[in-house]
Symmetry: C2
Subunit: 531 residues, 2 copies
């Protein structure tokens, strides 16, 4: 995620006790050493035309001004690079000046940073210019990178010597412990591979927090966290990390108590001045799901009031006409799409979250709150049906627009009859015009909605076709944005800042294990609490 919201003089409230608890839960990071598995040289400076190099030849390859060497580490890595240099020719009489470009994909490797003119900071581009004063030497770069490919370009050595890359290695970093992942085998090789890549994606986003992407923005976003926590529950089972993140969101919030869309944790913990209506409600959902897994009474006691605050704030945004106000809808993310009308979606997320809120209230034995939530749920479901259901179209229509997203969130909110829901999802499947779904975040909820109306085959088909199309396009980890019909698209005005290991795309592993494998149909009901 990356959004630009600016609030002047924003001073988030801090809860020292919650933040101390979050600090105690900081995970140890695990490390491995990874070395390149292949090498090549790009023939033109920013082309993809390349000549392969035998790996064993690299420690004997002398590189002078303008030459490049690309190392392929064989898989997406998050960690710290070490390079060992020696030289050929005379004793180095000048520093070596290198450009290092880290790339998650081959496309990124051949992009020219100078061409980037998007609205996100170019500081996210993983490039460094480095002077090496003494050779031979061992250079440990201080910053963490997310990459599979590394391009080393000699800006200059000197006429007297050439540089040799004797050794390269990456010290990877993650809080995901692969030893805790239950074995998974499925007969469908595509699903098997999607499952693997999902977990790899999640693992590389699991650091001291659940990051949205290890390349960018490298921090905790609420909507992403909810999906990461789901996949974590079928894999790394690092519930302390989920708890830590919930406490971080609880511990630094908007002055009026709202949960921020994202949290900075360094140099100190601080809520961002970005509020997203749907993300704040996902705090309620994620807390309830965490408690389902852990029955952690401490977390329930500490975070219950905060969860209820989110729901109550959201309900206050409903006018007397039963509609969400414009600001709430504007504050709703759902998907990267300027065209999408989000009225139905925002209402859908609210009603969806109410279900989880009511379960929290029941866990807490807060019966009056539970009853109030049940009542609100009824009111809002009726209002939503009235506002958005079209008998003529046999689907949900939001401000005149028929979108997949509107169908998805109305269905997940459970506002209509099973027949209406089925019709809505059939409509969603048939849509070819804009607005397209652009993010794996949206596609996750689309698959979940198909599953919810019983369209399991279609759900599996969509999961396979959408996520496998990323694999076909070269993904080692799943991406932040992917519209198979517009592979070059970036919500940021330049794909060089796109994140190609992005947490919100990790959920296929969860959906496969929970809903698509034959023996486990009944687990679908875990998302059907109202039934």
């Amino acid at each position: 995620m990356a959004l630009i919201s600016i609030i002047e003089d924003f001073h988030p409230m801090g809860d020292v006790r919650l933040l101390d608890r979050a600090a105690q839960l900081t995970p140890a990071l695990l490390h491995t050493i990874r070395e390149p598995v292949g090498g090549f040289q790009l023939k033109e400076r920013y082309s993809s035309e390349r000549s392969e190099i035998v790996l064993d030849e690299i420690p004997h390859l002398s590189m002078g001004k303008g030459e490049n060497l690309c190392l392929d580490f064989g898989e997406h890595l998050v960690g710290y690079l070490t390079l060992e240099f020696s030289y050929s020719g005379s004793h180095p009489d000048a520093p070596a000046y290198l450009k290092l470009k880290f790339a998650e994909t081959l496309e990124e490797l051949s992009e020219n940073a100078q061409d980037y003119a998007g609205w996100l900071s170019c500081s996210w581009i993983q490039e460094e210019y480095v002077h090496v004063d003494l050779v031979p030497t061992r250079l440990v770069l201080p910053r963490r990178y997310a990459f599979r490919y590394l391009k080393i370009t000699m800006m200059d050595t000197s006429p007297k010597y050439k540089l040799i890359i004797k050794h390269a290695e990456c010290r990877t970093e993650t809080s995901a412990d692969w030893r805790k992942v239950p074995p998974f085998r499925c007969e469908d090789p595509v699903l098997q591979r999607i499952h693997e890549v999902s977990l790899k994606t999640l693992a590389n986003c699991m650091q001291e927090e659940f990051e949205d992407g290890p390349k960018r923005d490298r921090r905790l976003w609420m909507g992403d966290l909810r999906l990461q926590a789901l996949t974590n529950s079928v894999s790394f089972r690092n519930y302390d990390l989920v708890k830590r993140c919930l406490y971080l969101f609880g511990g630094s919030r908007f002055p009026d108590g709202r949960v921020s869309a994202n949290i900075f944790t360094k140099p100190t913990v601080e809520a961002d001045d970005t509020f997203l209506f749907d993300y704040a409600l996902m705090f309620v959902v994620a807390l309830e799901e965490y408690l389902q897994e852990t029955r952690d009474e401490e977390a329930l006691d500490d975070l219950y009031d905060i969860a209820m605050q989110q729901v109550e704030y959201a309900i206050r945004q409903i006018g007397e006409d039963g509609k969400l106000n414009e600001q709430a809808v504007r504050d709703t993310f759902i998907d990267w799409s300027d065209e999408l009308d989000k009225n139905a979606c925002a209402m859908g997320v609210l009603i969806y979250a109410l279900r989880y809120a009511r379960r929290l209230a029941r866990r807490k034995n807060d019966w009056s709150q539970s009853n109030w939530l049940l009542q609100q749920n009824g009111l809002l479901r009726r209002s939503a049906l009235e506002q958005f259901w079209s008998d003529r179209e046999q689907c949900f229509v939001s401000s005149g627009q028929i979108s997949a997203a509107s169908q998805v969130w109305m269905v997940l909110a459970d506002v209509c009859t099973p027949e209406q829901a089925l019709a809505a999802m059939r409509k969603a499947r048939s849509l070819r015009s804009e607005p397209h779904m652009t993010t794996p975040y949206m596609h996750h909820y689309y698959v979940m909605a198909l599953l919810r109306v019983g369209m399991k085959e279609e759900a599996e088909e969509h999961l396979k076709s959408y996520w496998a199309s990323m694999l076909d396009a070269g993904a080692d980890t799943f991406w932040e944005c992917w519209d198979p019909e517009h592979p070059e698209a970036s919500p940021y005005g330049g794909s060089i800042v796109n994140s190609c290991c992005h947490a919100w795309s990790c959920t296929p592993a969860y959906m496969i294990e929970k809903f698509l494998l034959p023996a486990e149909d009944e687990s679908l009901s875990s998302d059907h609490p109202a039934k």
Copy 2:
């Protein structure tokens, strides 16, 4: 100095005992903290048009994409930069990406590194691109820089925040101890200022070795060392550093025993594969001058044979015709000038060095060597006079060319009568055509030759006009290259790699104290050992 010589499979000989002694003599480095004394912003990216900024406002100045801040530290510094950053606006949601440009002069500050197409490595350009991942923070740059000015350009922050430079400081580094410098006062303010700047130049080149320039090449060159040692003798009196450098030259040499033109000291001590005929002979001169100051028997014992080797090698380059062979002349530096015919100069340096060699032999009570050197001196002086003196021109002519350099070195070699020497130096002063003298290294010997023939007024006049013209052009320390008639000139094809604090230009302090101040005329005789 910077020269390109490449010898394939060069393996210098190493003398572990001499190198161990050199290591023991490594000086402690002294440090001070320096802060900016002024600030400004350059209006265009590579222009010199600027708007001043009040110093106190800098810690409140918010800088966004494309903006720059230039800090003026008020004097030339050698050391390590620390920057402290804070921000304005929202919590930083992306790294800050900065370009830092360090410049010894204002001209360097406004040059564009992209325009540089010279033959020296562009890695010498003092520019860094830096990502600052967390703000607020304190950034200590790991590399040493030589600069007075620092330009900080915001490559990007993000739309959400701007960066503030809260504090900047430089931790300077030198082995020159100013407390050891005798007080110096002279009535002529120009000489006074030249003296000051000379010592500042030397101090900033005094690190663990006498460096030729702290920006570039940052290492020990023999010709430069000889001049640094002279100025050191009237100022910082760090004789251990001179000794260390002589031992470094002695400790790593060409396989046949020749002293290299320069020595690398890191990662390990190693002679460069560059031989300069005149520089190797300066080892003899510098050793003798060191012994004059210190009467250090250990150094005499350890380095005498090496000094004699240099002389003997040089004499072997004389053919039966009494002329130096072409290779020796090609290996002779003298000055940065492609036009200069160096036959007379090379012969001059050899005869000059013989005088010092003979003094060494007498110190060592090596009378047969002393006699042999006296005999060689007589032969070579006669040969030089025959080859180069022109009665018609009343000056020295080298392969048909009349240059100041030829007069200077024939005069310093003392090959002719005082009348001839005076005529030669009058001719040198009258020359207006090419080849010009281009370096302070050459100008030093020019002034010394004027002094030698008794043209003290002219010597002082030239010293003042040449070195003061650098001051007029903005020098805080004296430069590597300076031809007042061609201020933009660079021997490297681009002035951005020129060094503007260069040791071989530090000698005015020595010449003023030794020869130009009224009471000390007799000390001139120290350069007249043969008389």
